[in-house]
């Protein structure tokens, strides 16, 4: 049997902290598993003091192990205290599920910024994922950007569990608050026609106000470019190719490449240099995100 997320976290934390600090954590996990809430709440708050909050600094092999333990799980940015907090939450008994949810609610209600980040990043590891949909939606509603990113970025939960409306709102909010789309898991799989139309409206709103638009926006429009608002999207992409900044031109090429319509292929044929550069991966959505 392959390792569980708890196994992975436990191994990584034990490798990163002194033996006595890890023993403290093991003790708290055991008390938590025994259903004692007071030591759980206290330990959850104390982890940073007891274990420090340095980065876990996981290797490529570690990250592969994470993805095997839980598909789509990417703890590349996790810190030691975050991992330890997740271990504590994963130790909570779930037999009395209503009580379990109440304990979690209380934890969220009193959480500080770092704790909120840890809790939202832990969502995909929790049992009964459906039970946390409202919680995830609340995380998306937050005004704290780091907390929002804890839900939206490197987190398989939204693409797996959010309905189309909530998912679309999350993507729009990423653009609205100026965070990248590329770290969102399941981005291309969950592109949809409604989202493409919403984002096109958003793009025109921004243009009307003389504001910049992230070139990443066109990634979500590309597959639906032909049908979005009667070809308006296709016109915009064509215009970006002619008049846009370099990153926008790259984005337009990649968007057109993701579009099955003949019209898109015809436009690409008019730009053979760009098209072959895209083919050779001279630029990708990730490189555009990194540069924008």
């Amino acid at each position: 049997m392959s390792a569980t997320p708890s196994d992975c976290l436990s191994k990584w934390v034990s490798q990163s902290v002194p033996a006595d600090a890890f023993a403290w954590l093991e003790e708290q996990r055991a008390a938590t598993a025994a259903g004692e809430t007071k030591p759980f709440y206290l330990a959850f708050g104390l982890t940073a003091r007891k274990l420090g909050k340095a980065d876990l600094s996981l290797s490529t092999a570690d990250l592969e192990e994470a993805d095997t333990a839980r598909s789509g799980w990417n703890p590349a940015n996790w810190s030691i205290d975050q991992a330890a907090r997740t271990l504590l939450v994963l130790a909570l008994p779930i037999e009395d599920f209503a009580h379990y949810l109440k304990t979690l609610d209380r934890l969220f209600a009193a959480a500080e910024v770092g704790e909120l980040v840890a809790l939202y990043q832990a969502l995909p590891l929790l049992p009964s994922p459906l039970a946390h949909q409202n919680r995830a939606a609340e995380g998306i509603r937050t005004n704290m950007k780091s907390v929002f990113c804890a839900v939206a970025h490197h987190n398989p939960y939204p693409s797996e569990q959010l309905d189309e409306n909530a998912w679309n709102q999350m993507i729009l909010k990423c653009l609205f608050v100026g965070v990248k789309l590329d770290p969102v898991i399941g981005l291309d799989q969950r592109a949809n026609a409604n989202l493409a139309s919403m984002l096109l409206d958003y793009a025109h709103e921004r243009w009307a106000a003389n504001r910049d638009i992230s070139p990443e926006l066109w990634r979500m429009i590309g597959p639906y470019a032909a049908e979005t608002q009667n070809g308006k999207a296709m016109e915009d992409l064509n215009k970006l190719l002619k008049e846009g900044r370099e990153l926008e031109q790259q984005a337009a090429i990649l968007a057109l490449r993701s579009c099955q319509a003949d019209e898109a292929q015809a436009i690409l044929q008019g730009h053979p240099k760009w098209a072959s550069a895209a083919e050779a991966k001279a630029f990708t959505w990730s490189s555009i995100a990194a540069a924008s």
Partner: protein, 302 residues
Amino acid sequence: MHIIDPHTHMSARTTDDYEAMAAAGVVAVIEPAFWLGQPRTSVGTFQDYYASLVGWERFRAAQFGIRHYCTIGLNSKEANNEPLAEEVLEILPLFLAKEGVVAVGEIGFDDMTATEEKMFRAQLELAKEVELPVMVHTPHRNKKQGTLRSMEICEEHGLPPHMVVIDHNNEETVQSVLDRGFWAAFTIYPKTKMGNERMVEVVRNFGSERIIVDSSADWGVSDPLAVPKTARLMLERGIAQEDVELTCYQNALSAYGQSGQFNESDWLNPAAIDQRNLFEGNSVLRGQTPRVDEPNESEIIT
């Protein structure tokens, strides 16, 4: 020069204030839990208030490059509703171990009632249990008696004076506070507490050891720039740079640093995870660059 304002109620202030404070050299603030100008009526509003001190407000400050810390406690003004006060005491442990909580406070006396004393004592015991310093609010009325009584009670509970900051001092109380080994904080608050010209003379007369300057800026007529303005006035009026640094930065760091939650490296060399969580993004500014004005108001606070 770096400045710490170790007593300021930022929840009641605007983003303009944060911008001006950052421009004036404020690198860190401590927001003591206090009342909201009128008493709360349920434990839930206390809980949400404490949560905002360790959550949203901390994040909001970070948008301006200021590190935000807080103290958690049941203030004296709201201690007199005994059934509610008991409920609040029960939820305090949930927050005292949070990151960025540097003391139990502000606690102490307002009307000097028996219930206030009971809640004060209970929280002193809590502070000992969680090994945090204490921020003591001294009353506006009957200040001298209230200050003495507060110190006696701290001593009765065996709190070492170096773990206790007695706040809102004046010329009449400072000597007794220093004599007994406590930290003596002064609030530069227009009209009702200290003016900064008086503060200059306090430092001239009593020195800089264990003396701390703060603004207690809140929802009343108050000045979020009181500490930087006082620092500047001290320098102008011939107080040595070293004394200014002690009273407007280092002493607060030493006193509240005893919590283990308040370290210079937090703002000079923040951990990678803090940089990601607390120094990135700017949802408050919504993409605008902070406006930095030269302070042009009068530097004298009367």
